[in-house]
């Protein structure tokens, strides 16, 4: 570890009415991997936007020293020229352009005003090799997975002679394998002298690769922990983030499991457009009243496909199999059939599939069961307001009123709106797809409490999650899914991460 590459001194950034950052100091040594942790809204992204010039010099107080010299960036291009590159959580690649075109977007290799394609592709291939990709640089971005897209972003950063690489939640959308690869790459780049700042929620990853961790809470830098010298546990970091001990990350629950409510038999689903590709192979599963059942699986195992195909065939084609509610076979050919039969599905992607972001809280909550508020086709506005207000209280949705637009809420509060919507449809079985994705630790705890409450009310709950600790923390029983097959079923007493992972990676039986 050499001298400091970056010094941010008493940075204060004010928005009308709010101090987003207050007197924040951050120093990063050359060649280290520096993690930044904090709850959503703590100010991590704002700090990185100050650093990368998204908020130009003059719009904040304090000073930034890069490589020992004070800098004043006017915009992103300015900071990139100095070698600071930020990679956002949502990737900034153009889907229908090739890998090479994306890497050199805005930085095209030209000769005489025309793009030199040979050199472009050659250089791109070299950069791809540095990040461990062997794909053809002329491949379109849509044709490679999210994991590889993330690597292309890094290759793009390398093309800009990056010295300080900022990664905002780099593994949020990646599966375990791709995440591991990405973390290896960051380590590898560290070996080549590239300093990295990583914003992450995933504490195990931070523990794996970070040299130092700076914790930000409510716009202030709380502390910087040295991961190498001290033995820092995940709970220690969480304590810093939330300012309290999170001894129990999962609320306690004594399950009261009753009769079987929901059963799926021999469920087979084909791909929506490639009709001979089987996505789900003869799945069988059941859930009982008051039971929380987890579904574990790696990316591409078919978890969401399974759930959505059950939920009124909203995914797939050529679906065969039977769905039973309370022991009786039911027809669920459309989403409204499914809702009418007491099935609810809360999507993994609430912004695109769960909420009408330009509409207010109350209209989102009533969307799936508007009939309950209507007489002869006319909606009772006042009743809707009262119902929504009840949910705002009972679910602890933090918003000034139920007339607030959902697009302006934080991820955790949006998720509570989605859950309220499905609770209002009064289902017997709730399928929750990644219910805690992209929300902070405190809100996660609240979501778990809600799940427990649903189970205590005698609902059957299915939770799909990428995070094994979460599944182990809240489920009574877990199914493992691999390549469209249910490869295993374990009660919570027998389940261990290792055993589950074995099932999740199991090849299909020939």
């Amino acid at each position: 570890m050499g001298a400091g590459i970056l010094e941010m001194r008493s940075i204060t950034k004010t928005f009308p009415g709010v101090k987003a950052l207050q007197d924040v100091n951050l120093s990063v040594a050359r060649g280290e991997v520096h993690a930044i942790c904090g709850e959503n809204g703590a100010g991590k992204s704002t700090l990185m936007k100050v650093l990368s010039g998204v908020y130009p010099h003059g719009s904040y107080e304090g000073e930034i020293l890069f490589e020992g010299k004070p800098v004043s960036f006017r915009d992103i291009r300015d900071s990139e020229k100095s070698g600071i590159v930020i990679i956002h959580q949502e990737l900034a690649l153009s889907p229908y352009l090739s890998i090479a075109e994306n890497i050199f977007l805005g930085n095209e290799i030209q000769s005489g005003g025309f793009i030199d394609w040979n050199k472009t592709n050659l250089e791109a291939a070299k950069l791809l090799a540095r990040v461990g990709l062997s794909d053809n640089p002329t491949t379109k971005i849509t044709d490679i997975g999210v994991g590889k897209q993330q690597l292309v972003e890094i290759a793009k950063a390398l093309s800009k002679q990056v010295k300080l690489l900022i990664l905002d939640e780099p593994t949020a959308a990646l599966n375990d394998e791709d995440s591991a690869h990405l973390l290896d790459l960051i380590k590898h780049l560290q070996g080549q002298g590239i300093t990295s700042i990583i914003i992450s929620h995933k504490l195990n990853e931070i523990k794996a690769i970070a040299d130092k961790v700076t914790i930000i809470r409510d716009g202030r830098a709380i502390e910087t922990l040295d991961m190498k010298s001290d033995d820092i546990s995940e709970n220690r970091i969480i304590k810093g983030m939330v300012g309290r001990d999170l001894e129990h990350r999962y609320p306690d629950r004594t399950p009261k499991i009753g009769e079987e409510i929901f059963r799926v038999e021999d469920w087979t689903v084909h791909h929506p457009t490639e009709h001979d590709r089987v996505v789900i192979h003869g799945a069988n599963l059941n859930v009982r009243a008051g039971e929380v059942v987890g579904i574990a699986g790696l990316m591409g195992a078919g978890r969401t496909e399974l759930a959505m195909s059950i939920f009124g065939r909203s995914y797939g084609s050529g679906i065969t199999g039977r769905v039973y509610m309370h022991g009786k076979e039911v027809k669920v050919k459309t989403v409204s059939d499914a809702i009418a039969n007491g099935i609810a599905y809360a999507t993994e992607d609430r912004k695109r599939y769960g909420l009408n972001l330009i509409e207010d809280i109350k209209r989102n909550i009533s969307a799936a069961a508007l009939g309950k508020l209507a007489k002869r086709g006319w909606v009772d506005d006042n009743k809707e307001y009262l119902v929504a207000s009840d949910y705002r209280k009972s679910m602890n949705i933090k918003a000034p009123s139920v007339s607030s637009v959902t697009g302006q809420l934080s991820g955790g509060n949006q998720q509570k709106v989605v859950l309220s919507k499905w609770m209002f449809s009064d289902p017997d079985v709730l399928i929750l797809d990644e219910p805690t994705r992209g929300i902070d630790v405190g809100a996660k705890y609240e979501i778990y409490t809600i799940i427990n409450r649903l189970a205590a009310e005698g609902k059957a709950v299915i939770v799909i999650s990428s995070e094994l600790p979460e599944l182990l923390g809240i489920s009574d029983r877990i199914y493992a899914l691999s390549e469209g097959h249910i490869t295993g079923e374990m009660s919570i007493e027998d389940a261990t991460p290792e055993a589950l992972m074995q099932y999740m990676t199991k090849e299909k039986e020939k």
Partner: protein, 440 residues
């Protein structure tokens, strides 16, 4: 002090809705001055209403279509086609006027069902289907008319477009006031204020009222001035001709469709569909049905507009209704509808349509040539939407953690990321109801 602050805060939160009304008032006052008071005379106000009635009828259907995230380019051609068919029914087939009117509305519904079928069930974008419809029904109009005008129409038929409520009963020479008009005006006022007060009382009873009482009273007073002023101009002022029949039709349509859009399940489904198609589908909303009936409805309204227009001109011609669609679309957007769908109101579209109408009329009174009028109207449309976009950026970006005003660089990033997020899940892009996620 705090009450004032509260009122101002409330006003700011309703800026979106109020702004457009203020714009209309400013334009009216401006032209009233520029034309030396010729704008707000009995005859001219009557003219503005009748001349713009068919555009306003179309604007009601159009704003609904736009809220759902579609567009309809065919309404002008459909109006022309229906007008032509009504002429053929009356003149060539000898149908009574009222059968012709009912049959015409049915033809409109069929045309809407035809377009709705392609849009909702085949999944062709409305832009394409209605662009085709614009050509198809223009062509059909010319074919059925054999490129000849049909004229004249029976007197009863023409009432819809150019008639007034019983003006002959109380000719201006014998009676100082048009009693029916005054009666209608007072009736309308009582009903408007009554429904407002009833709604407020019900909200207060449930403890849901957020609107300051001062603002509520101001709103009622404003409504009263507007209705009474209009009543005066149509019924009492020198040269008044009574209530145009089409104004009554229009009033009923506005009340009915405002209720549909704000309080009916169907209306809510339209907003949900336009706000987020996938979320609506996954909430069990039958979006295909919503789309289908939306276009059936648009077809009926286009037919009605065609009848009004034909009646007013007393003639059905092959070129009728040209560019009506653009006026209706402009009205909806000036009235605050969002290009991306999910946002808009019927009253907004009507106000937008009136802004265009008053601009047209005022400039005509001033003797501004039509080419220049086009130019001005284009600028108004652009500025209205620009103002909207600016407003949204100012207030919409405020989250739990507020963001700075959008700079050019952040703007590029957000559009890029939106595209990439799409790309991350290629299957979903084609998603209609039956496609789904790429990875889980």
């Amino acid at each position: 002090m705090s009450a004032l602050k509260e009122s101002l805060g409330f006003l700011a939160s309703r800026m979106r809705q109020i702004g457009i009304f203020i714009a209309l008032i400013v334009i009216v006052v401006l032209f009233q001055i520029l034309t030396d008071g010729r704008l707000l005379t009995a005859g001219n106000v009557s003219n503005i209403i009748v001349q713009n009635s068919y555009i306003l009828i179309l604007a009601i259907g159009m704003v609904m279509v736009i809220i759902a995230g579609h567009i309809d380019l065919s309404v002008g051609s459909v109006a022309a086609f229906v007008g032509a068919m009504s002429g053929i029914m009356i003149q060539q087939w000898g149908a009574p006027w009222w059968i012709a009117i009912i049959a015409s509305l049915l033809i409109g519904a069929l045309v809407g069902a035809w377009q709705g079928f392609w849009i909702a069930f085949v999944g062709i974008p409305a832009f394409i289907v209605t662009l085709a419809g614009m050509l198809i029904f223009r062509g059909l109009t010319q074919i059925v008319l054999g490129n000849q005008r049909i004229t004249p129409f029976p007197n009863e038929y023409r009432q819809l477009g150019g008639g007034y409520v019983f003006p002959q009963l109380f000719p201006a020479s014998t009676s100082p006031a048009e009693w029916i008009t005054v009666g209608l005006g007072i009736l309308a006022l009582i009903m408007l204020i009554g429904s407002q007060v009833k709604g407020r009382m019900s909200r207060v009873k449930h403890g849901l009222e957020s609107e300051p009482i001062s603002w509520f009273i101001a709103k009622l007073a404003f409504t009263a001035i507007l209705v009474l002023g209009l009543t005066y101009l149509l019924g009492i002022a020198p040269g008044s001709r009574g209530t145009p029949i089409v104004l009554i039709v229009l009033g009923l349509l506005v009340v009915a469709y405002t209720a549909v859009m704000s309080r009916s399940v169907f209306g809510r489904h339209i907003y949900a569909r336009g706000g987020n198609l996938h979320a609506a589908q996954l909430s069990g909303i039958k979006t295909q049905k919503v789309d289908f009936y939306l276009f059936v409805n648009m077809g009926v309204l286009a037919a009605l507009a065609g009848l009004v227009f034909t009646g007013r001109l007393n003639s059905a011609g092959p070129g009728a209704g040209n560019l009506f669609e653009l006026d209706a679309i402009a009205a909806a957007f000036i009235g605050g509808a969002a290009v991306t769908g999910g946002i808009g109101t019927v009253t907004g579209a009507i106000t937008g349509g009136l802004i265009m109408g008053v601009l047209n009329n005022g400039m005509s009174l001033m003797g501004v040539s039509t080419d220049f009028q086009q130019f001005i109207k284009g600028l108004v449309l652009l500025l209205a939407v620009a103002f909207d976009v600016y407003n949204k950026r100012r207030t919409g970006g405020r989250r739990s953690q507020p963001k700075a005003p959008m700079t050019a660089s952040t703007a590029t990033i957000s559009t890029e990321t939106a595209e990439t997020a799409e790309a991350g899940k290629p299957d979903m892009q084609k998603a209609n109801a039956k496609t789904g996620p790429a990875g889980s």
